[in-house]
Each structure stands twice: as structure tokens, then as C-alpha cells.
Symmetry: C2
Subunit: 301 residues, 2 copies
């Protein structure tokens, strides 16, 4: 299972009871925080996100509405006695800001905080369950998107075919791991004849603040669920471009070019009180589209 | 009129739907912001505080729960097109933090931001209506309290006595300004015989995070309304001392020593869900006591 919970769906100026950007991605076990606007820790309490289960935080860029809540969250980890390590992936300029803030408070992090400066595209984190990688998007300052991909799941043994070929159950783990089977007469039976594909690995892409930029569609090609910012509607596309943002229609084009399964829109300008218009505009170009709602969880695939 | 509206009454770890410290003091016309914990701008929206009317911000010290919301508020001023100057009074270490944050965003303040580093006790701001001064409190890092005092109000003309003495109405402004009156026969009539004292000037003191420290009572002597932190109840006074905080009982002692009119308690530890116990404990020592409630406004005098 791969899913994302929205904690903030608004752009920088908080309004209409919407909050600046923050999302929690889960692989079913662990939590990954993506961006951390002001008030994120309060939103976590409201939506019952167990912040202690977050081990990795990804900050797309250093506009305040994407990270002003981080120092408060780190401070709360300190106060609540966190000892588990925390991995922080962010533009390098964040480190001296955090350092100065801790120094001004005559304080320090009481848990291991590993700062990974974002410098080039590629894999940031990988384990047996998931790979997280970064790709560039185009904003006024260096800005990153993040792609979460479940690892390929092991194939499943087909019990009927395995029985027929005389595979002993103790060989099942080897079948799952991809080995062929040599039967009693010395014949090799190809693994694919005895197994079925495992559940499909899911993927989620977070396309942070960006201009309409078609290379993004290449980075997130075939993703199950793509979040793309849609600060404005398309009648404001000149303002969007001037501010290095996208429109709902442009987000839909990226989703279509990427062959994505489903599109999530967010980062709405405070000028819009109603959000359905974003979905309406995008759906003409890409029908599988939803508007991010704070507190809602969206499954990838 | 001098009054304070509470936007956050909790200590650092947000809980029980309580927020970190922020207060808005008003002299009836302008707004002064005192401390600015994370989420203050959201609380301002919730409680319909017109943030554009804030011209002066006072930050007591650089523990995060007293200033992490400041950069977001300043950023929102930028986004909403503020042009009026803003005066910021804070420990000097705040300036490079703000500078780095603006630099990382490739941004700058679009309005005049005057940074006044807090260095010594005394008057910070003064005009015809109010004086704001700073005094030291005792915390783990440099920390300041703030005293808001209305200017003495002009005396009021006593119409009966003025008529009796033959004072012409065009002389009333001079009477209000304190002049004596010379009557037609050349006699000087003392101002005090023709006027009554004006309304009493009110005062409010904000005693930020501090140990129990009796000199504070001298700084706020005779104040109408005193806010004093009360992070713990008195059975936790050792923990309070170790963390440079006070108990409700200690806050009450300061209010009594100061001869204050009324005491407000705040900055409650997240370990307490119910707050009435703070009032109960303090009232044994100082009966005119209230517990800060978020969104509530308290009048000085």
C-alpha cells in the first residue's frame, strides 16, 4: 500500500481554513513527510498522524510555505524525547538556518538528525520496500520533486502448476525468489511457468511548485498517482508563469503526458475560495483528477 | 482602553488544542503583537485580528515557541502587499536568522522593517498615547518582559467651577493642558480648583518565561493587569526551577508583591489538560486571578 495524506493544500497566504503545503506519504508501515509549512505539527495532531513514525522528511524548496513548520516540529521531537534518527533531505541552505535557530535557543537536537543536502537528481533513499528519488522542477529558486516507488513485489507461486510439476513446498521460497525448478528427471522448468506476477509495485510522484515544464512528465512516466501544483486556473496562466507556478489545465497536461493513473491538484491560491473549479478545468484534459482536501488520504493505484 | 487578546496560552509542545505564545495588545486604536509562536497568523484569522493594524512586534526571547510564527507572518505581509513600516523589537540574534531565511527564498521585505535589537532595559517606544518599555526576566537565555503604560490622561474641566470663576469656554483647552486661570480682577486660580483628574492611565505587563524572580514585582509595581507565566503547578516547582519556569503560586506571589490589579496566567505545560487548577492554586495567594483562554480579551483596569 502506498498512500498520501494531505495536511495543507493552500499556497503561501493561509486562508479559507486551508494551510500551507505538507503531505504524509506512507508505505503502509512508515511515514514520510513531504514539505512542512507553518502549522504542520498542529495539522498532524488534528488528523491523528503519529509524528513519531516519521523517519524521513523531504523539503522541496525554501519558500517559507514549504518549510516554516519544520523547526517547530524538530523542536517538538526534542521536547517529547525522541531518540530515533531522523533523515532530512533539503536544499543545502536550510542547514545554517536550523543551526542558527538552535544556537539562538542555546539548544541542540537530542536525536541524530542526518541532513542530506539536495544537490542532484537521483535516488535519495532505498530499502526493501521503497525507493525515493528526487527530480528537478522549475521554480524561482532551486526546487525538487520526489518520486516514491514501491520495490517490485516477489512473484507468487501458482499452487496448481507447482503441484503438477512435483515442486516440494520447501522449494516455494526459492520459486518466489525467481529460481527455476529442476524436476526429478533433471528437466529445468522455467520460473515463469510455476509462478504468477506479484502485486504491482505502486508509485506516487510529488511535483512541487513549478512552471509548466514537460520534462517533469518524463520523470514521473507511468506513475500511479501524481500530485502536481495548480496554484491558478488557466485564465491566470500569465500570472502563473510570472510567479513560476502552474494552472490546473497545465497540471492535467503533465499528467496526460506522463500516462499517470490519477492526478491530485493542490497549492491553491488564496484568491480561490471554492476548489471544484480546479477539478472541472483539469478534467477536460485528464478525467482522473481530484482536488486535494486537507485530512484526506489518497491511495496510489 | 488597554486590553490584551490571547492567541496562544500553551508552552512549547502544542496540545489540547492550545497554541504556543502570542498576544495582541491594543490601546484602542493600534495593535501591538507580543511574541509570535508557530501558527500565530492562523490564530489571527480565527479570532479576527486585523494583522495589518500591527505596527510593532515585541519578541521576548528566542525559544521557538515564542517566535517560530514570525517569519510566516512577515512573509504574509509581503504577499498581501503591505507597505506600512513595521517595528520589530527582539534579541539581536533574530536578525541573521530572518536574513538567512529571506536569502534562501531569494526574497526581501517589500515594506520597511525596522529591527530594534533588545539590549538594555528601558523605553522601547513612546508616543502621545502609550509607552512600551522592556525589563529583564530570568530564563535560560536572555529574556524580556514588556510593560505597556497609557500616557497620563489630561484633566477634565469642571463646568460648574469654571462657570463660577468666569472662565470663558475658549480657555478650556488651556485648562485641560494644566494652566492656571487669571480672572478679570487679576487673581490666579489654581488649575486643580477648576479641573478634575482625567481618566486613570492603565497599564499591562507581560512577564515572559521566567524563574520566580522578585525584582520583576518592582518593574511592574502597581500595574493594572499583569500576565505572568505559570508553566507548572507548585508541586512541580523543582522541575519549574530546573527549566527556568514558574508555578501558578509563584506567579501569584509576584502579582501580590507588585500590588497588581489583576493577574493573568499562561504558558501552561502540555501535561495539564484542565486549566482551572492553575486559577485555584494562585487564588489562595492572589484572588484576582484568571487563566488565559485563547481568543479571550482581558481589559487592563
Amino acid at each position: 500500500m502506498l498512500a498520501v495524506t494531505i495536511l495543507g493544500n493552500n499556497s503561501a497566504l493561509p486562508m479559507h481554513e486551508r494551510h500551507p503545503t505538507a503531505q504524509v506519504v506512507t508505505d503502509g508501515e512508515r511515514l514520510f513527510l513531504v514539505d512542512c509549512g507553518e502549522g504542520t505539527q498542529i495539522q498532524m495532531i488534528r488528523y491523528k498522524i503519529r509524528r513519531s513514525r516519521i523517519g524521513h522528511i523531504f523539503i522541496s524548496h525554501l519558500h517559507g510555505d514549504h518549510y516554516y513548520g519544520l523547526i517547530g516540529l524538530l523542536n517538538s521531537y526534542n521536547l517529547s524525547g525522541r531518540t530515533e534518527p531522523l533523515h532530512l533531505y533539503a536544499p543545502p541552505e536550510l542547514q545554517p538556518i536550523l543551526d542558527l535557530q538552535m544556537e539562538a535557543a542555546a539548544s541542540d537536537f537530542a536525536f541524530p538528525l542526518h541532513f542530506h543536502p539536495l544537490a542532484e537528481a537521483g535516488i535519495l533513499f532505498q530499502d526493501t520496500r521503497i525507493t525515493v528519488s528526487a527530480f528537478r522542477v522549475r521554480h524561482g529558486i532551486p526546487c525538487w520533486g520526489f518520486l516514491f516507488r514501491e520495490q517490485a513485489k516477489p512473484r507468487k507461486v501458482d499452487p496448481d502448476k507447482a503441484f503438477e510439476a512435483g515442486v516440494p513446498p520447501e522449494f516455494f521460497p526459492s520459486l518466489k525468489a525467481g529460481e527455476d525448478f529442476i524436476d526429478s528427471s533433471g528437466h529445468r522448468i522455467a520460473n515463469e511457468l510455476l509462478t504468477r506476477p506479484g502485486p504491482r509495485a505502486r508509485s506516487y510522484a510529488y511535483c512541487a511548485d513549478t512552471l509548466y515544464h514537460e520534462p517533469i512528465a518524463y520523470h514521473v512516466q507511468g506513475v500511479d498517482l501524481v500530485y502536481h501544483e495548480a496554484t491558478y486556473l488557466d485564465d491566470q496562466r500569465q500570472k502563473a508563469a510570472a510567479r513560476h507556478h502552474s494552472t490546473a489545465l497545465q497540471a492535467a497536461r503533465i499528467a496526460r503526458l506522463a500516462g499517470a493513473g490519477r492526478l491530485l491538484l493542490g497549492h491553491f491560491s488564496s484568491r480561490y475560495e471554492e476548489l471544484d473549479v480546479f477539478r472541472e478545468e483539469a478534467s477536460a484534459e485528464f478525467p482522473q483528477v481530484e482536488v486535494c482536501r486537507e485530512g484526506a488520504t489518497y491511495l496510489a493505484g
